[in-house]
Amino acid sequence: MTNYSYGPLLFFAAIGLGFAAFSVVAGALAGPKRYNRAKADAYECGIQPSPHAEGGGRVPIKYYLTAMLFIVFDIESVFLYPFAVAFDRMGLFALIEMVLFILTVFVAYAYVWRRGGLEWD
C-alpha cells in the first residue's frame, strides 16, 4: 500500500468541505436579509401551513400524502412504459412479473384507501 492512493480521497474531501463552507459563507454575505414571520416557520416554503389541529401542534399531512400517492403511481407508470413497448417480445414471464408488480402496488393502495388516506377531511 502506498500513501499516494489516499491522496485523491483527501483532495476530494477538501473540495467537498470547501464547497460547503463557500456556500454557507457566500449565502450569508451576498444574500438579502429580510426578517418577517415566514422566516420563523418550521418549513419556509412560500405557502402558509394549514391551520393547526386542536390541542397540539399537529401539522396536517394531506399534501404530503397526496404527493406520496402520486409518486407510488408515478413509479408504476415509469415501469409500465418500457413494458408496454416490449411486452410482446418478452413473453409470459414478463407479463406475470408485471401483474405481480401491479398487485403489490395495489396492496399499498388498498391500505391507504381503507385507512382513510384518500379522504381530504
Binding site: 492512493s5 485523491p8 389541529a53 397540539g56 399537529r58 418478452m90 385507512r115
Partner: protein, 511 residues
C-alpha cells in the same frame, strides 16, 4: 438496440425471501381489511408462520438450489443461506418478544397511535379505544425480507435496495414506543436522518466504483479491480464510501453516534430485534462486498478496517463504563461487539467467516433475550432502565436477575456461555492471519467490558432493592423467547460444534 433477454430467476433459491415478502403483503392487507379488535390475533400467527415457513423452505429446499440468479443480482451460496437462516431464526424469537402485550392497561411496549402527538386528545382517544399496534408485524417482516436480501446481493444496486428495505421499517418501529414517546420519536428522526446520510455515502461509492469498473456486479468488479490501472483514484474512494454505508449500519466508530440514542429510544423488543438482526445482515453484506468484490485491493482497505475495528472496540468499551442506563450500556456493548466482529472481516479467511457467523448468532440470541428482560422491569408503569433502579433485582425477582446475569456473562465471554466459544471462534482465525495486535486489543477491550457487565451483576445481587420497581408478569410468549434464548446461549457455550461445523461448511462465497 440489442434483443431483449428475459432474466432467469431460480425461484427455488429465492423462495424463503418470497415467503417473507408475501407474508408481509398479506399483513398489510390484514391491517387494511380486518377489524381493529381482531388484527392482533390475525397478525401474530401470520408473522410466525411466514418466518417459520421461510426457515423451513431455506433448510429443506434452498441448499440444493444454490447459485447465482436473477442476472447476478442475487447470489444464493453457503454464507447467504447461513446468514439468512440466522436472521430468520432470531427474528422468530424477536417477534415473540414484540408480540408481548402483558395483558394490562398501558403496559404494552408499543404506542396505540404512532401518528398522534404525545399528550394530545388524539392519543388519549386511541388509548380509550384500547387499540394495540399491529403494524409492527408487517413492518418486521419487510425488515426481515430486506435483511435476507442484504447478504445475498451480488450487485451493489441490489444491495442498496436491500439496505433501504431493511432500514425504512426500522426507522418507523423505532418511533413507536409506548412510554417516553418524545424520546422515541427523537431517536427515530435521528436514525432516519443519519441512515439516509449513510445510504447516500453507499450509493455515491457505488457510483464511483461503477465509474472505475463499468459495473455494479460484485463478480465483474472483482475481475476489473485486478486489471484496471490508473483509476485507483475512483476505485479506492468508492470502496471506502461503500464501507462507510455498511459500517454505519453495524454501528462502528466513527459512525456509531446514533446507536446509544436509538437503542434507548426504541421500544425494547424492537431494540433487541434491531441490534441482533441488523448486525447479522450488515456483516453478511460487508463480508460479501470485501471478500468477493474487493479482494484484490485488500492492501488498501484492510488497514482502514483494522483501524476502524480498533477504534470501535476501544471507544465502545471505554464509553460503556460511564453509562447509567441499561439500554445505553447495551448499546455501547453492541458497538464493542461490532469492533470484535470487524476482526472477522479484516482477517480475510474462510475460517474467520465461520467465526463471524457463529459470533453473530451467539450475540444476537443473547441480545434479544436481554432486551426481552429489560422490557419487564418497570417502575410506575414505565420501563425502569436506569441502572440504579436495577439495584437488588436479584432479591425481588431472582429469575429475571439470574437470566439477565447469564446474558451479561455471555456478553463478557465467560466459559460455559456462548460468548466464550464465539470469541474463540472469531479471534483464533484473526491470530492465525496476522491480526495479533487487534486480538490483543480485543482482549483488553473484553476485560474492560467484563468489568462493566460484572458491575451490573453486583448491583443486582449485592445492593438493596429500590421501592416501586417491580417485574411485570409476562405471557407465555416472553417466557418462550427467554427460555429458548437462555437455553441456546448455554448450548452454544457447552456444545458449539453443530453450529460451528455448519458455519465452517457454509463459509465459501460463490463468485
Amino acid at each position: 438496440m440489442g434483443e431483449f433477454v428475459a432474466t432467469k430467476i431460480n425461484y427455488a433459491a429465492v423462495l424463503p425471501m418470497l415467503i417473507v415478502f408475501a407474508a408481509a403483503m398479506i399483513g398489510v392487507l390484514v391491517e387494511a381489511f380486518v377489524p381493529r379488535a381482531s388484527r392482533y390475533v390475525a397478525q401474530l400467527p401470520l408473522t410466525l408462520i411466514g418466518l417459520a415457513g421461510a426457515l423451513a423452505a431455506l433448510l429443506l429446499n434452498s441448499r440444493d438450489n444454490q447459485g447465482i440468479t436473477a442476472a447476478g443480482a442475487v447470489v444464493v451460496d453457503g454464507p447467504t443461506l447461513m446468514f439468512q437462516g440466522i436472521v430468520l431464526a432470531l427474528s422468530i424469537l424477536a417477534v415473540l418478544v414484540m408480540a408481548e402485550r402483558l395483558d394490562r392497561e398501558g403496559a404494552d411496549a408499543f404506542t396505540q397511535s404512532g401518528a398522534s402527538v404525545p399528550g394530545s386528545p388524539l392519543e388519549a382517544q386511541a388509548e380509550r379505544l384500547g387499540a394495540t399496534t399491529t403494524e409492527v408485524f408487517p413492518l418486521t417482516l419487510f425488515a426481515v425480507g430486506g435483511m435476507m436480501l442484504f447478504p445475498a446481493s451480488g450487485n451493489l444496486l441490489t444491495m442498496f435496495v436491500a439496505l433501504e428495505v431493511l432500514s425504512l421499517p426500522l426507522y418507523i418501529m423505532t418511533g413507536l414506543a409506548r412510554r417516553r414517546r418524545l424520546l422515541s420519536q427523537e431517536a427515530a428522526l435521528k436514525y432516519f436522518l443519519l441512515g439516509a446520510f449513510s445510504s447516500a455515502f453507499f450509493i455515491f461509492g457505488a457510483a464511483l466504483i461503477y465509474g472505475a469498473t463499468t459495473s455494479t456486479d460484485l463478480s465483474v468488479i472483482a475481475k476489473a479491480v485486478g486489471q484496471v490501472t490508473g483509476l485507483d483514484s475512483l476505485l479506492v474512494p468508492g470502496i471506502l464510501l461503500v464501507a462507510v454505508g455498511l459500517l454505519f449500519k453495524v454501528g462502528a466508530v466513527p459512525f456509531h453516534s446514533w446507536t446509544p440514542d436509538v437503542y434507548q429510544g426504541a421500544p425494547s423488543p424492537v431494540t433487541g430485534f434491531m441490534a441482533a438482526c441488523t448486525k447479522i445482515a450488515a456483516f453478511g453484506a460487508m463480508a460479501r462486498v470485501f471478500y468477493v468484490g474487493f479482494e484484490a485491493l485488500r492492501w488498501n482497505w484492510q488497514p482502514v478496517l483494522a483501524v476502524v475495528a480498533a477504534l470501535t472496540m476501544v471507544v465502545g468499551a471505554v464509553l460503556s463504563i460511564t453509562q447509567k442506563d441499561v439500554k445505553r450500556l447495551l448499546a455501547y456493548s453492541s458497538i464493542t461487539h461490532a469492533g470484535f466482529l470487524l476482526l472477522g472481516i479484516v482477517a480475510m479467511d474462510r475460517t474467520s467467516i465461520a467465526g463471524l457467523m457463529f459470533y453473530l448468532a451467539a450475540y444476537g440470541i443473547s441480545t434479544i433475550t436481554a432486551f426481552a428482560l429489560i422490557a419487564l422491569v418497570r417502575q410506575s408503569g414505565a420501563e425502569a432502565t436506569h441502572l440504579s433502579q436495577w439495584a437488588g433485582l436479584g432479591r425481588t425477582s431472582p429469575v429475571v436477575a439470574a437470566v439477565f446475569a447469564f446474558m451479561m456473562l455471555s456478553f463478557a465471554g465467560i466459559p460455559l456461555t456462548s460468548g466464550f466459544t464465539a470469541k474463540f471462534a472469531l479471534f483464533a482465525p484473526a491470530v492465525a492471519h496476522g491480526g495479533v495486535w487487534l486480538v490483543v486489543l480485543a482482549m483488553l477491550a473484553s476485560a474492560v467490558t467484563a468489568f462493566v457487565y460484572v458491575r451490573v451483576i453486583v448491583l443486582m445481587y449485592f445492593s438493596d432493592p429500590i421501592d416501586g420497581v417491580s417485574v411485570v408478569n409476562p405471557s407465555y410468549l416472553t417466557y418462550a423467547a427467554v427460555a429458548v434464548g437462555a437455553a441456546l446461549t448455554l448450548m452454544l457455550g457447552v456444545l458449539p460444534s453443530p453450529l460451528l461445523d455448519a458455519a465452517k461448511s457454509a463459509s465459501i462465497f460463490l463468485r
